[in-house]
Symmetry: C2
Subunit: 230 residues, 2 copies
DNA sequence: TCCTAATCCATACGTTGTACGATTATGTAC
DNA sequence: GTACATAATCGTACAACGTATGGATTAGGA
């Protein structure tokens, strides 16, 4: 087989074609556009117009690609710090909102990002600084700050996971919790049924933004109570 | 090739037969013992001493197997209700502890369980009843109960995800957050570094149980504050 | 000019999920 | 009993996957 239109071997000086970054960027685009299952090494190589095996020079295997994507998403997080201009709880909420928004940018990757512990690199650790900054002003002990930050982050993770799970499936959307509860036989979960019915008409559709804000308020109130008890 | 020891075609009346339940049970065992990657249709069929294609008579595809496993885990949850004998917040905490413990039984499945929205079946919805029971006693509006329950569940999910991610990898355990922060250049995240250093020696290893309890206390305190403001 | 390392390509192997059709038993209608 | 639809299993086969191996080509330093 003769090489037509495509040369083998190391590319000439000016024509660098592959790099870890370029690969990850292309991979991110595929995942965002077509879902995580659409990401295969062959497909990835095709969009880069390159032989599949060329990828392995820059990344050891597919798991490394996924880990790289998780890292990329985290690195893309930008948590603006309003500083001492606002009360500590509002400062904390701002950081949380930014964190959630960052994760929302790539719903198809949420699962990968949130579960890849190897992605807990320096990048991620540094991301948490704004949370500590805000909590430090609340009058907590180091241990309390540590626990509070973890709790808040766990909440954001759980929330984002649920949000992403819903947003990720473009097809076959399952009935959400509210409609499902209404379809339930009344004696299976009486209290649940009564409460959900009591929500009224405006509560028919679940609003993720409202849910997140509500969670943030509950958490900051709980943290404030902890601070007061000290 | 001659059939030795195994006949083709429909089994005779008294003969051992396949069923959705038997398949899922075997699948759960494989996942628990060897991880989610060990679960292949061929491997599953082999442990059942059956042809791989036989599985497809009871389940449409592998995704259905995984969804079935998620459902199975949820169905296995048993949230004991201490009733009115204890204060509402302790009642709520008990439900939360049981929920977390249920998810812990199958760390290799946590990812699947927590992300599979199609598993949000009646089984799962009913599981939430104890949370509503407890919250109903706290003096909240229906809307507040609804939001509080979601917040608590999101926290448990996020927490369980982190816990499972750590417990699932038997190999290549990454350094945890604490040791990683200590290895950080001091100027990258000064507050974070200072707080973690202030944790003292006893805080060297992260204790999941303590972390969970701390989160529960923060959340119940926050919910109590919401109730008071009503 | 030669050497080494970088970069990419071609081929190939084992494994995966599962489509398709054949095979054998069961349950029902006559 | 006989005929027939249906249920349950199996055998074969295929396309797609991740990637091991080894070879080709070139850049850049000695």
């Amino acid at each position: 087989m003769v090489n037509v239109g495509k040369r083998s071997g190391r590319p000439r000086a000016g024509e660098e074609r592959l790099s870890r970054e370029a690969i990850l960027t292309a991979a991110l685009r595929i995942v965002d556009d077509e879902g995580i299952d659409a990401l295969t090494m062959r497909r990835l190589a095709a969009t880069l117009q390159v032989n599949p095996m060329s990828l392995y020079h820059h990344l050891p295997n597919k798991a490394a690609v996924l880990a790289g994507l998780a890292e990329l998403v985290f690195a893309g997080l930008e948590l603006p710090d309003p500083g001492d201009a606002v009360p500590w709880d509002e400062q904390l909420k701002e950081a949380a909102r930014a964190y959630r928004n960052g994760l929302r940018q790539h719903p198809n990757l949420a699962l990968q990002v949130l579960s890849d512990t190897s992605a807990v690199s320096d990048v991620v650790v540094v991301t948490m600084e704004p949370f500590y900054l805000a909590l430090d002003r609340a009058g907590l002990s180091p241990r309390q700050i540590f626990e509070a930050a973890n709790t808040l982050i766990d909440f954001i993770h759980g929330f984002s996971l649920g949000e992403a799970s819903v947003r990720a499936q473009t097809f076959e959307l399952a009935p959400d919790l509210l409609t499902r509860v209404r379809a339930l036989p009344a004696d299976k979960a009486p209290t649940l049924t009564r409460i959900v019915d009591g929500l009224g008409v405006e509560g028919l559709a679940y609003d993720f933004d409202d849910g997140f804000e509500s969670g943030l308020s509950t958490l900051t109130a709980g943290i404030a109570a902890t601070a007061r008890r000290r």
